[in-house]
């Protein structure tokens, strides 16, 4: 009863967050599909909390929202991040009963302990610095970084980790520093730093452990994804080694690698790349096995069963919209994949019946015609539409005519340019320029 009364308030809260209001449409579909608990189990550390809160904000269904918030609350209580705790408690708004309220006593005790610990760490660090022992200073900064990270002061953590850089003596230390910085940067959403430190880590002289390599690949992929370089992102994801497993659960789950890699690859790779780098890639196949749906849709796409491929995609969409990294790219990637599918569908034919094609893509003829017209205008499909008979005809450019046309045009342009050039040269030669200045206006 209490819960029912809260429904409008939840909607209002969603609107106030500015997120629920913006995307109200996908909300109802996802509720039954997403198993929040199973989803959260894939991750550890702060990313789990971040993802839970993201889901709570975006899903728009109160049951799921509260479930996510409850799990986040429990998780936070085990950690030391008091700010997170306050956030979540405010979001819950006492909807989960008295057990889930803002726990002031807990907060105070944590804060007090944190203050003491911070002082201790800082005095230790000062001691190391006066003794000028490099390794100890590095450890000191590292500890302070860890401390800040645990308490949610991300930018302070970032600064401390960066400071360890001057005191790194072996490549192992450098790699550790890079991994710390990458982790914090991803949380902060500072993706330029991520790619920067990934390349720093890769440049260390010693050969890296396979797990580290896989982690770096995944992080680089995320960075490219965030900057909308889908092709590069796809490369990085499909290159990620199977050693990753669940070892990088504080950032990304292997299932995510499969989804991100597959979607980016579908949107940006050509057919041969898709075959060699995705479908025949043994490493990546391990990831795809984790997500049978994604594997199916990649295979569907490659064997030109676009209808079922697009259907799978639609099914996945609500969940992907709740993914913290992928959500803002879903629409673009889907659009690209759809366009690629249309282009590939038309490629082998001289003429295509639009009715058949519309059926294959599960859309109406007039919608398909519009999409095709847009693609033709962008010069992505070499074809023309017979709107009367609803047939698409491939257009083979007549090389000979095109060459004639271009030659004549180039000739005309050359003639025009040279003439005006001669005229200007003559004007300058006689220095009219100067005189013009004195005489006119």
């Amino acid at each position: 009863m209490d819960v029912e009364g809260e429904v409008p308030a939840a909607a209002a809260a969603a609107v106030a967050n500015g997120l629920g209001g913006a995307e109200p449409s996908p909300a109802p579909i996802c509720a039954e599909q997403l198993d929040v608990e199973a989803y959260a189990a894939q991750y550890t550390g702060r990313t789990r909390l971040g993802r839970l809160l993201f889901i709570a904000e975006r899903c728009g269904v109160e049951a799921v929202e509260l479930e996510a918030l409850r799990m986040a609350y429990d998780e936070i209580k085990r950690g030391e991040d008091t700010m997170f705790h306050r956030d979540v408690a405010l979001k819950i708004k006492a909807r989960l009963g008295p057990r889930y309220l803002l726990d002031q006593a807990w907060t105070d005790s944590i804060n007090r302990r944190a203050e003491q610990r911070k002082e201790k760490l800082e005095s230790e660090l000062n001691g190391y610095r006066t003794n000028l022992i490099k390794e100890s200073i590095r450890m000191g900064y590292n500890d302070i970084g860890d401390f800040f990270y645990a308490h949610g002061h991300l930018s302070d953590a970032f600064k401390s980790y960066i400071r360890t850089r001057d005191y790194c003596t072996t490549s192992k230390h450098i790699v550790q520093m890079c991994m710390n910085v990458i982790l914090v940067s991803i949380e902060l959403g500072q993706f330029p730093h991520v790619s920067n430190y990934v390349s720093k880590a890769e440049q260390t002289p010693d050969t890296l452990e396979p797990i580290i390599v896989a982690k770096l690949r995944a992080a680089a992929g995320l960075a490219y994804l965030a900057t909308k370089k889908y092709k590069l992102a796809a490369r990085k994801f499909v290159e990620t080694g199977p050693e990753l497993g669940s070892n990088y659960s504080e950032v990304i789950a292997p299932q995510d690698i499969a989804v991100y890699g597959a979607l980016c690859a579908l949107a940006s790779f050509d057919r041969s790349d898709l075959k060699s780098k995705v479908i025949d890639n043994i490493n990546f196949r391990n990831f795809l096995e984790l997500m049978p749906e994604v594997r199916e849709l990649v295979n569907d796409f490659y064997s030109s069963r676009y209808g079922s491929c697009l259907e799978h995609l639609e099914k996945l969409k609500p969940n992907l919209l709740l993914d913290i990294h992928l959500h803002e790219h879903v629409e673009t990637l889907y659009m690209d994949i759809r366009h690629k599918a249309i282009i590939q569908y038309t490629l082998p034919f001289i003429s295509v019946d639009l009715n058949t094609m519309a059926a294959a893509f599960k859309t109406s003829v007039s919608m398909l015609e519009k999409e095709l017209a847009a693609l033709i205008t962008e010069n992505k499909i070499q074809a023309r539409i017979d709107s009367h008979n609803k047939i698409l005809y491939a257009r083979h450019a007549d090389q000979r005519n095109a060459t004639f046309q271009r030659v004549l045009q180039t000739g005309n342009e050359f003639e025009r340019d040279v003439k005006s050039l001669l005229l200007r040269a003559n004007l300058i030669k006689h220095d009219f320029n100067q005189r013009a200045g004195q005489r006119k206006m």
């Binding site: 009367h388 005519n401 000739g411 003439k419 003559n426 004007l427 006689h430 200045g437 006119k440």
Partner: protein
């Protein structure tokens, strides 16, 4: 002081050989100024005693002296006098008038002013055309009369008459103002004939000509350049890098309404463009560009229809109307029809079911005419590139150029420059 009678007698006697003419020219120059001007009002009857062809030089001096006084023109001007001047310009001897080009230009300008004042610009066209040919030393030379002539053609709406001199390539220019006016008027004449590519060339020259300070002619030319670019190409190219920095910096701010029009056009929405034009109609009107602006507006339909031909093989008139934002299929049919007639698209309309089928360009580049056309292009370009080579050689031999390039190398030549024989031969 000689009387006008003796002067006329001299003119009649000394208009034969070049030596005599030189002597006569001296006499005339002495007589010019006070003495001739003093009698200027009474000179008209003497003109009748002279033959414009045989005594061109003398005739010119007397004519100019007469016309230099505005009161004379007011009293005697109009009808017969203009006929006399026109006849003189047509029949005068080119060798003689080139001795006094300034006087000749004055006479031409006087004629231009007179016919404009009489509101009969068409009467000045033939004499001025003859005058241009007489005073030109080569067809590449731009004379001050060019601009006057084109102005008369424009005023009389005799655009085709203007072509006879516009088709010559101009390379030699004496006064920059002449060039700007020539390019501006020339562009307008081609706009009048709807030959927009050539018009663009002329206006382009007016905009990109070297200038150290901005002038009103190039500003007006730039406005028209924007409009014609939109009609012809659907976009305005940015300034080429050889444009003077003055023009690059200032032109846009002087033609802001037009620059905004161009950016509005690129958005591709007809209604938005129409709204913008209506909001600024009085500005366009005051620049006398409203007609062109309206053509810009209707060119948007054409451009959109042309784009459809790239995409569709057949399309119903209704779909055309809806995709280019025309109100009715009937209007769309009119546009398509007109474009087919103008050769801008290749299509057929099937009126029975209201379908338009678009075709590929039927030109196969196989016909004799096409081969001739290509051949003539090749010949022209070869001549042009020969000219370029010779100019290049001239520059390479130019002492000033060598001095400058020599100085840039530090004024010294390396030892290697002189040592042309390789050492291994020793």
């Amino acid at each position: 002081m000689e009387s006008v009678e003796t002067l006329v007698a001299h003119i009649q006697g000394l208009s034969g050989s070049p030596e005599e003419l030189a002597h006569l020219h001296n006499l005339l120059r002495q007589a010019d100024g006070e003495s001739l001007r003093a009698h200027s009002a009474g000179l008209l009857p003497f003109l009748a005693q002279l033959n414009p062809q045989a005594h061109s030089l003398g005739f010119l001096y007397l004519l100019e002296a007469f016309a230099s006084s505005a009161s004379n023109l007011r009293a005697q001007g109009g009808g017969d006098f203009l006929v006399t001047v026109a006849e003189f310009l047509i029949s005068c001897s080119a060798d003689q008038i080139r001795l006094a080009p300034d006087k000749f230009l004055c006479a031409c300008r006087m004629l231009k002013n007179e016919v404009i004042q009489l509101n009969a610009p068409i009467r000045g066209i033939a004499p001025l055309r003859a005058a241009i040919r007489k005073i030109q030393t080569s067809s590449e030379e731009l004379t001050p009369i060019h601009a006057d002539y084109l102005l008369l053609c424009l005023l009389a709406k005799q655009y085709k008459a203007g072509l006879s001199i516009l088709e010559d390539d101009i390379l030699e220019v004496d006064q920059p103002k002449d060039l700007f006016l020539y390019c501006y008027y020339g562009g307008m004449i081609y706009v009048g004939l709807k030959k927009f590519t050539t018009a663009l060339e002329f206006l382009h020259n007016a905009v990109t000509a070297p200038m150290s300070s901005l002038n009103a002619i190039s500003v007006e030319a730039y406005k028209k350049y924007i409009l014609v670019s939109l009609i012809q190409n659907g976009q305005v190219p940015s300034f080429p890098k050889y444009t003077s920095s003055t023009a690059q910096r200032n032109l846009k701010s002087h033609a802001q309404v037009y620059v905004d029009l161009a950016s509005c056009y690129i958005k591709g929405s007809y209604s938005e463009l129409e709204e913008y034009i209506q909001a600024n109609a009085d500005k366009f009107q005051s620049d006398n560009n409203l007609g062109l602006v309206k053509q810009v507006l209707s060119s948007m339909y054409k451009r959109n229809i042309q784009r459809l031909t790239q995409t569709y093989l057949t399309l119903s008139l209704e779909d055309i109307a809806s995709s280019v934002q025309l109100n009715t299929p009937k209007e769309a049919e009119m546009y398509v029809l007109r474009m087919i007639e103008d050769g801008e698209i290749h299509a057929t309309i099937n009126q029975k079911d209201g379908m338009v089928s678009f075709h590929e360009d039927p030109e196969q580049y196989k016909s004799c005419e096409m081969v001739e056309h290509i051949d003539s292009s090749i010949q022209r370009l070869m001549a042009l590139s020969k000219k370029l080579t010779s100019i290049d050689e001239n520059i390479l031999c130019d002492p000033a150029y060598l001095m400058k390039t020599g100085r840039e190398r530090g004024g010294r030549f390396d030892y290697d420059d002189f040592d042309s024989v390789p050492h291994k031969y020793f």
